[in-house]
Symmetry: C2
């Protein structure tokens, strides 16, 4: 049934880890109670949810598991964090002023589109500048952090080019001015250590399906004392997020966080990602005019982002797909969009070159054979596409 | 491991149907692609999502599967519908006036709390009156439907007392005045036929875990042409709901909708629910001073709601739990709340009596033995509690 896939698009989504599925299955079958119900079936589900909360808290080094709120996705976490903080500050001012939200031009669309919506609803938005590596230096925020600023949102690691942002420095600036700091750690979770206390984050988003848990579950770290106006009102999650708890996926997210934390401590696994990346970067270097994007030092080991002048990235993805290799030309959520990536544009890349991009990303189940297959197929695919007259 | 449970709290949540779990499993294992990805693994996931959309559309008799938006819960569907319609009308007025939202005092907290939040954000809220059966007659809406009204939200069947509301008549009033009509059909889905066209609904919410799919998935029917301001902004679901699609649960919801539709056409199954209800109502009638709540005719067959003067409902639930029977004293999402049910209060019930309530609800896997066990245990449990001096 399944074609033998060479899956190298872990930034888009990951296969579910078998241990995660095993952990979830009993909650699909026998333990089906509503965690809000007082009888034994309900309480058994409640216990599982609270155990998972501890596992997620451990991955991000939260002081208290109650600082973790379960959501349905990284996108929901981002929206709850930013929109919730903005509306909460508005409420605190008794509706007098619509506060400011500050971010960057390289954020995921979950953040970007939330900012657009808030702006439409009368909030003020300001964006710090990114450099050619997609890196946003703390200095870029100076002058933007007004007393009316409710929240600053800066992603921890970029989903396209893999650049790791200086969130600790930016958080420190926010703390000085008593502004909340949110970071979208969807792409960094499980890849580099997360420590909300050291980082100084008030709010941090993670997503299950980027770390071996299923699509449809996420979490938001909310530092104790931080008030958010809910996105979905309801009694669950201590009035922070309405809707019956997705018990099996919460259990799965907890299990995935525990596994991710263990892997982060395994130096061999981490070195393996570096060696995959090195091999692919060397392959790319042999392709004429290929550009390796993202920060040369502050970057994830699990992905690389290339641009090929004169090649259509989407066509390249399709060509590799025909060879059974799954990679992407940009984020999955905007596939098919005729627009070049806003991240690459913010980095100052020419739109034409931006559309000749390829994102390769790997994870827990990637093996040497996967990487070798791509390394073998890539140069030929690029060469072939360069011989075809551009159809664009 | 699992105690032999007599589960009679289907209004709180349902066990997952084995066919639903079977349908989902391949999407946890081999078909893990992101439906937004262009390569084969992504497109296989996309196909499954679109097939499920057809199955959900069939249950509610939508004209076009594209009228179905997948969400993470009934609560999210309700919030997206009401808040999305209200903000969209505000946008259409170029931010000049915050429109009105009209509803009833017997709605689920997902609706009720959304209305509270909208009111706090400057929208106008009006509620029609319910009668002693929890029935809200169309006449009650006269005078409330101003030109500034964005949306009217009335639940299809009440989650506590099982009363079925005259949504068709209310929708007709809305249509006359060009006001959107939303119905929360979370408790009616799978229990009585749903037909958005006949009903005249513009927006209709359903939830997976009330019909044998898992907790963490819902859907909103959005009539073609109806504009909603998104709750979670993003490209997915045609820009109506951001976040990577929860492919396995979407597949599960589709399968559950198909099974529900089949069951609705099975007269024997429907009669069986009536006979369960009759047996339990007869048992209740033999308990001194027991009151059967809800509408005598316009009601679901799958639940009954009782009140026992001089008995604490929560204590009764615990007493029955000790006998291995799972029933509830009210909605699971407000368990532990010291407040009496807002639904019963809106029906004019004394708070003291409201807190002596028991909700019994059944579904696809309920058998004669389950019902018999409760019928045997209930009279004794009530009698025993009445002998204990009230601790309240």
């Amino acid at each position: 049934m399944t074609r033998d896939a060479t899956y190298l698009d872990y930034n888009a989504t990951t296969p579910i880890r078998p241990e995660v599925l095993d952990a979830m299955l009993p909650y699909f079958r026998e333990h089906y109670g509503n965690p809000g119900s007082p009888y034994f079936l309900g309480q058994r589900a409640r216990k599982a949810v609270e155990r998972a909360r501890e596992q997620v808290a451990a991955l991000v080094n939260a002081k208290d598991p109650q600082e973790i709120v379960f959501t349905s996705s990284g996108s929901e976490s981002d929206t709850l964090a930013i929109s919730g903080a903005a509306w909460s500050k508005w409420e605190e001012s008794y509706g007098r002023t619509k506060p400011r939200v500050v971010s960057t031009p390289i954020e995921h669309d979950a953040v970007r589109m939330t900012l657009v919506q808030l702006k439409m609803r009368g909030f003020d938005r300001a964006l710090a500048k990114a450099d050619e590596y997609g890196y946003v230096a703390p200095e870029q925020f100076e002058g933007l952090l007004t007393p009316e600023t409710a929240v600053v949102s800066v992603m921890h690691a970029n989903n396209e080019v893999g650049t790791i942002e200086p969130v600790e420095g930016i958080a420190a600036l926010c703390r000085e001015k008593e502004i909340l700091f949110h970071t979208d750690a969807v792409q960094s979770a499980g890849k580099i250590p997360l420590d909300v206390q050291k980082m100084g984050a008030d709010l941090l988003s993670i997503s299950g399906h980027k770390i071996g848990a299923p699509k449809g579950i996420g979490a938001l770290y909310v530092k104790r004392g931080v008030r958010l106006s809910p996105l979905i009102a309801g009694h669950q999650e201590k009035n922070r997020r309405g809707g019956t708890e997705n018990v099996p996926f919460i259990v799965g997210l907890g299990a995935a966080c525990e596994l991710a934390l263990k892997d982060l401590g395994d130096a061999k696994k981490q070195q393996r990602y570096e060696s995959f990346r090195r091999l692919l970067a060397e392959t790319a270097a042999r392709i004429p005019d290929c550009r390796l994007n993202g920060h040369p030092a502050n970057r994830l080991s699990t992905c690389l982002h290339l641009s090929f002048p004169g090649v259509d990235g989407h066509a390249l993805v399709i060509a590799l797909d025909l060879a059974g290799i799954c990679v992407s030309s940009g984020p999955a959520c905007s596939t098919g969009s005729p627009q070049p990536s806003h991240v690459l544009i913010a980095m100052g890349m020419e739109p034409e070159l931006a559309q000749g991009s390829l994102r390769i990303s790997f994870g827990y189940a990637t093996n040497d054979e996967d990487v070798r297959r791509l390394a073998e197929a890539l140069p030929g695919a690029v060469e072939k596409l360069r011989q075809v007259p551009a159809a664009r």
